[in-house]
Symmetry: C2
């Protein structure tokens, strides 16, 4: 049966591509109020496609852009999967840098490689359509899906997903499934698929230190007046020790060593730390001493100062002792680190080191814990086998230093683990002009999902 | 003879005031290109007044605004003094905050105190006119000045004095005198004159740290990539020790303890550290432990961070590892501290603590050494006596935390010490809307200079 489904995919590829193009032509920029109707049109187009495929599909209202929800329970038994993708896209500026209009998708051939070029080609319309087209092929070739499938397409991912959590809460029973399939990540490279099994969490916090009630002249007051920049840099400078470890009390609580099997897999990835750092003009890993770069970026927590400002920062010079200085910090979390605990630890640390005459104010910029998929679970084993069959090589099990908030939300609200499988490539230029999705990603992605559905249902 | 001069001053006060008003009406804002002709008009008006008084006065061209130079050597013997003042003024914005037009001077009476209100009333037209009117009174009442006097009025003080050094160099022989009289400082309070005997020097330096060749995503690179904000705050945080002392090697070379006599005078000033700090919302002296606030602001060197910036500093949050972070630092210098030595010490310190993959660039924002007048010199003793006679109380011998560059230039280029005597008050709102100069400053200032000329010539 799977062979027939795969043949159907191959035979139908140009029609699949034409359907993707139709979706790509809809200007569904979620952050642009002028695109409000277009965002809705994209949702309606998707719901229509899914209805045509026999899904019970509908466009659901939220306080922001709508959700698309669809269910197919033609498979009367077996597991139940929830597929997640997002149909909204990033803004297109700077428009002048596009070599063709962002919402007029086309096929480009570079060094013999066919690429789908257009806004959303990769992130995330191209990716979500790999799953829709896989379902279409199953329906066409086999008459039904091999498992019960629900779909959730979001229209606000690029604008911070304000409606997602309330929507998941309000429709928990409807959306809950055995496992979630999330298609918003990369392949390891063009030839090797990847399953993301670890996502770092994130805590954002702003620290604002004030001292005098106005800016002061450093000649008249310098030497006697507290300078809040001094107070701030002194505290920020204490956040790491000489070994690159974060000094906040309790910071490493809940951080686990990498399982040996995962470490062994990472050793096979052929990751070149020198190339990775060299690609951005660096050469020496800056994180914790004694850790590989892959560990540093995927499996170790961080504390980064993302911004700092205080006093006079224009051209020339001004001898001011400012009234205020501030910094934006973020932590990347791993394992079982608790976002709220880290936030409190930072606040306590700042207060503890704050000198006389300074006041501090904190702004909470949100937080989410790290996510891990059991690396030895049954679902994972099945997906690994399916992807090995499709790509001819074992998929990479990777971490991701960044966050995919929906994965945490699905875990927290619906109690579901997510299998993060995507077919984008590092150089897809998502969020940038001339975004592309390689035809091999699209075609191989559809085939991969067809195989994964079979494998998970067997 | 002095009594006749003083009576002449008292009798002529309203005419003196009218002359000051004429000067105040000229919009000599040196930083405003639209005021170019007005600045020149102010110079010409002053040269005309001085010519009328019998000075050999002229307006001298520079690459910027003109200088006024005048000489009176009717006193055939005795010492020779060079008086310095500046006839340019600060811009007037925000204009809406003025209660009357800034270039329409008027007398205001607040709590029974008569105040001259207008731009430049205090800084520095009112101050320089105290000396001109003192000369007029000597000429009128005694027929001649008691000493040889030269005058230098600058028109670029409020725009950084770009022409001053070249002008002093080109006219060194013409301008060199036994001592300079500089009238651009404050009284201790309305009842007590002040002589500024110490001026801190200043070194300005910008430190720019770069790491990666572009801004990086802190999820993808965080933990492995060098963050230049971390490098910068780590270094800046090391500049002071727990006692508030600056840690740069050799920083305190050339810093001397306060002479006992000066310390004794400062003890008589009734300076209230709590009020001083409390006026700007502070309460605890932030500088070197074990030093009084007056020492901290007048007699001790400082290292201040005047500005710092790096990464994302807008609203909300952005998880960026920036390519660059920078800080503007200034040092206030005392005693014999060498500006260039301190700059090199800072640069060496930064380089020494710079981690791998960071580069640093420095921008020199200028420097000048501290200035000191021998507190036991003959000129100072004579001026102290003259001011005591005028104000009925011993003048305060004070330091100034800020810099008056001309004093350093006169020392370096002409080898002259400066007696800094001014009659402005702390609350004169110089550089701000509704600048004022109290009538008692103007009248007492004229009388003071009349006495000082007598005392220095006796």
């Amino acid at each position: 049966m799977l062979d027939r489904v795969l043949k159907q995919i191959d035979d139908d590829l140009s029609a699949s591509l034409e359907r993707l193009f139709r979706l790509l032509r809809i200007e569904s920029i979620s952050t642009d109020p002028a695109c409000r109707d277009s965002v809705r049109a994209a949702a309606e187009w998707l719901a229509g496609e899914l209805s045509d495929l026999g899904f019970d599909a509908s466009v659901r209202r939220t306080d922001g852009h709508p959700m698309v929800v669809a269910h197919d329970d033609s498979a009367k038994s077996g597991p139940h999967f929830l597929f997640y993708g997002h149909y909204d896209v990033q803004p297109v500026d700077p428009l002048g840098d596009w070599t063709s209009p962002p919402f007029e998708p086309r096929i480009d051939i570079v060094n013999g490689v066919k690429r789908i070029v257009g806004r959303g080609a990769s992130d995330d319309k191209g990716q979500l359509m790999t799953f829709v087209e896989a379902c279409r092929a199953w329906k066409t070739a086999a008459g039904a899906l091999p498992a019960k499938v629900s779909i959730l397409f979001e229209g606000e991912e690029e604008s911070g997903s304000p409606s997602l959590v309330p929507f998941l809460r309000a429709h928990a029973d409807e959306l809950r499934a055995d496992v979630a399939l999330v298609c918003d990540t990369n392949m390891w490279n063009r030839e090797r698929a990847a399953i993301t099994i670890m996502l770092r969490g994130l805590v954002g916090e702003e620290v604002i230190v004030t001292a005098a009630d106005r800016d002061l002249h450093s000649g008249l007051f310098g030497g006697a007046a507290r300078n809040p920049i001094h107070a701030l840099v002194d505290i920020l400078g204490r956040l790491h020790d000489e070994q690159g470890r974060v000094t906040l009390p309790g910071f490493y609580d809940g951080v686990h060593e990498l399982p040996a099997e995962v470490r062994a897999i990472w050793d096979t990835l052929g990751f070149n730390a020198g190339d990775f750092l060299g690609s951005v003009g660096l050469s020496v890993p800056a994180g914790e001493a004694g850790r590989t770069v892959l560990e540093q970026i995927w499996a170790r927590p961080t504390c980064e100062i993302n911004g700092v400002i205080g006093g006079y920062t224009g051209d020339g010079f001004k001898t001011v002792i400012p009234a205020k200085a501030s910094a934006k910090l973020s932590f990347r979390l791993v394992g079982d680190q608790d976002p709220q605990h880290l936030r409190e630890s930072l606040r306590g640390f700042v207060r503890q080191h704050l000198p006389a005459d300074c006041r501090v104010e904190f702004v909470d910029h949100g937080g989410s814990p790290a996510m891990r998929l059991p690396h030895d679970g049954d679902h994972l084993a099945r997906v690994r086998a399916a992807l090995t069959d499709e790509w001819g090589t074992e998929p990479a099990l990777v971490g991701s230093g960044g966050s995919i908030p929906v994965v945490g939300d699905l875990k927290r609200i619906l109690g579901m683990d997510s299998l993060m499988i995507g077919f984008a490539l590092e150089d897809d230029r998502i969020h940038s002009p001339n975004e592309k999705y390689e035809l091999s990603s699209f075609h191989g992605g559809i085939r991969s999902w067809a195989r994964i559905l079979a494998a998970l249902s067997a």
